[in-house]
């Protein structure tokens, strides 16, 4: 019960033409509250599948997934939407903000689906944007923001519901080195200050080096799971 994430014997098979592809094979994984984890692996290693299962976007073929003590494996589509809304914040490589929609409205969106009233939505979205340092950009649309700013809007959107888990899929993939580190610093700070569990999927070693725990996925299995006693502090690096 102390784990936030608990995977037990999780497998995921895909049918690719006549052949069955084992994207994940018998994965066990425990992640505790407040951990900062990097999942690394080459493309095709199964790390994206793992991410999708952790994010309740996909169901495992076999095994069991508990999130915050809730068995989400066998939940209905609607219930899993609810789990995503309540327990998980997503940050994507491509930012995935709604185009022609202001930063504020983007950040309000998860609260809309939660049924929060307009005034409360505005208050919380404005606070989340302030938290990521964009208090003065609330009415800008994605097209008017830089890549780093867009990703920070996306982080604000992930945070606005106060989820225990933040999943970041290649969050720095579309950013230059300096901006990447700014974004990473933000994620580190969130993890430290708010006790949010952060799971980052990445293929960049220097990004993974910022995490306290590095899980390497290879051929659908967890190949290595190691503690990183001296994580890079991204913010320091960014000031070099």
């Amino acid at each position: 019960m102390s784990s936030l994430i608990r995977l037990q014997g999780v497998s995921k098979d895909y049918l690719s033409g006549p052949e069955v592809v084992h994207a994940l094979a018998d994965v066990d994984l425990d992640v505790g509250p407040g951990e900062f984890v990097a999942v690394v692996g080459t493309s095709g290693s199964g790390k994206s599948t793992l991410m999708n299962i952790l994010g309740c976007l996909d169901r495992p073929t076999q095994g069991r997934y508990e999130l915050a003590g809730i068995d989400v494996t066998s939940r209905s589509t609607d219930q899993r939407a609810l789990v995503r809304n309540r327990l998980i914040g997503f940050v994507f490589q491509g930012f995935n903000l709604l185009p022609r929609t202001s930063a504020l409205e983007n950040v309000e969106l998860p609260l809309v689906y939660r049924g929060v009233g307009a005034r409360e939505r505005f208050r919380r979205a404005a606070r989340a944007l302030a938290q990521v340092g964009l208090a003065d950009r609330v009415h800008h649309t994605p097209a008017q923001l830089s890549g780093g700013q867009q990703q920070r809007v996306a982080i604000a959107r992930a945070l606005v519901t106060n989820p225990p888990l933040l999943l970041a899929d290649e969050p720095t993939g579309n950013l230059d080195t300096k901006t990447s580190h700014e974004v990473l610093a933000l994620l580190q700070a969130l993890s430290l200050d708010h006790g949010i569990t952060v799971v980052i999927v990445t293929h960049e070693a220097d990004i993974a080096a910022c995490a306290r725990r590095i899980i390497t996925v290879r051929d659908g299995r967890i190949f290595r799971d190691e503690r990183n006693e001296n994580p890079q502090i991204a913010s320091v690096e960014s000031h070099r």
């Binding site: 939407a81 309540r86 995935n96 709604l98 959107r157």
Partner: protein
């Protein structure tokens, strides 16, 4: 309720982001709804105009036309062109209990000349009951009296159109007109009765039937063109028709089952017939208009499908952050309903404006009834739901992982 409001907000927001496309899509619905509303208004306007015209014939009138029944020359003396006579009218007046008044008339189009003008005008020989049965009212002057009728006096009443032709703005009472070689004194003018389904009822000169027979068309004897009987009430109408038929069959010595030499029609029959024609026309036009509404609906569906494809990624994002499939479906459904509702309301406005613009040219008022507006609004919402359902369902059933990967 609150969730629905937020969904509506989101739907409208999405539509506003695609202003031009939304506008063009709803134009299809606009045209359809405007067409339906216009046709319905035209239909009910035309119908009440017909009603009004038929009412202007009089009240509960039974018309008896002379009808030469000669199908083959060999057929009995009843076919000798006897037709209807004043004595037939007399008999009906005497014997038909369901009838309150009987009148006769004969009409001929004749050249009528006055001191200030001339024209072809319907000169009608009528008896003194004609005014009641047909509901003619005297505007100025007086009607001819019994002694004038009996002495075949050369007096006449003039209706507005004829008055305009012959006298312009002069007061005709006390002036003279000439029909053929006979001068007639105008003793009164009639109020306008307007157009009947058959003719302009105002282009007339009314003279006593006796005078008409001896001075205008002296060759007809006591035959008349038309006998009109007024039933006591609307309920007596068919009874009156039956009685009249019986009396005339007897008088004209026509056996049961033989073709009569007259034809009977009631005002109600005229009305039903005319309304029947207009109902058929209205239904035809309405179906054409409804097809254009259907085409508009297909346009909405098409655009919604394009929208779902284009916004696949957006749908993926919404799902990832916790939108349930149902919520996605409601949003897209509301978008299509908002489109069609907007088109519908705009269509009603356009139809109303067109009606106002063309009201004068049409000659009779179109009637925009509230029921038609209600139906139009309901129909546009319905079309939005029907044609938006499938695209919305497609959006709701997208796989979030696939949708997020969509470029």
């Amino acid at each position: 309720m609150k969730a629905l409001r937020t969904a509506l907000e989101m739907a409208i927001l999405s539509l506003v982001r695609q202003r031009l496309r939304s506008l063009l899509t709803s134009v299809g619905i606009l045209i359809g709804v405007a067409a339906v509303v216009l046709v319905a208004a035209l239909g009910s306007g035309a119908r009440s105009e017909i009603d009004r015209q038929i009412q202007s014939l009089g009240s509960n009138v039974v018309f008896i036309f002379s009808q030469p029944a000669a199908k083959s020359g060999a057929k009995s003396r009843a076919n000798m062109g006897m037709g209807l006579t004043e004595r037939d009218a007399e008999a009906i007046r005497r014997e038909a209990t369901a009838v309150s008044a009987v009148t006769v008339y004969s009409e001929v189009n004749a050249q009528v000349v006055s001191e200030t003008g001339n024209g072809k005008i319907g000169v009608m020989g009528v008896d003194e009951n004609y005014f009641e049965v047909r509901g003619y009212e005297v505007a100025t002057g007086r009607r001819f009296n019994e002694s004038e009728a009996q002495t075949k006096a050369k007096v006449a009443l003039i209706a507005p159109t004829a008055q305009e032709k012959l006298f312009g703005s002069l007061d005709p009472v006390g002036r003279w007109v000439r029909v053929g070689k006979h001068p007639f004194l105008i003793i009164g003018t009639l109020r306008s009765k307007g157009q009947s389904p058959f003719e302009d009822q105002d282009d007339r000169l009314l003279i006593p039937i006796g005078t008409w027979r001896s001075r205008v068309v002296p060759t007809l004897g006591d035959r008349v063109q038309l006998v009109m009987a007024s039933a006591k009430t609307a309920e007596h109408s068919s009874e009156a028709e039956r009685q009249v038929k019986q009396i005339l069959m007897q008088r004209h010595q026509i056996a049961e089952g033989e073709e009569p030499d007259f034809r009977i029609g009631t005002q109600q029959e005229f009305q039903r017939m005319q309304e029947g024609i207009f109902t058929v026309l209205t239904v035809l036009l309405l179906s054409v208009a409804a097809i254009s509404l259907l085409v508009g609906g297909v346009g909405v569906m098409n655009i919604m499908l394009v929208g779902v494809t284009e916004r696949t990624r957006e749908i993926g994002i919404r799902m990832a952050i916790g939108a349930k499939p149902g919520q996605i479906q409601v949003q897209f459904l509301l978008e299509s309903v908002a489109l069609t509702l907007f088109g519908g309301v705009a269509g009603i406005l356009v139809a109303t404006l067109l009606m106002l613009a063309f009201a004068d040219d049409l000659g009779f008022p179109m009637q925009l009834n509230p029921a038609a507006i209600g139906v139009a609004v309901a129909t546009s919402v319905f079309i939005g739901l029907v044609f938006g359902f499938w695209p919305a369902r497609r959006a709701a059933h997208l796989d979030p992982i696939e949708a997020l990967r969509h470029e």
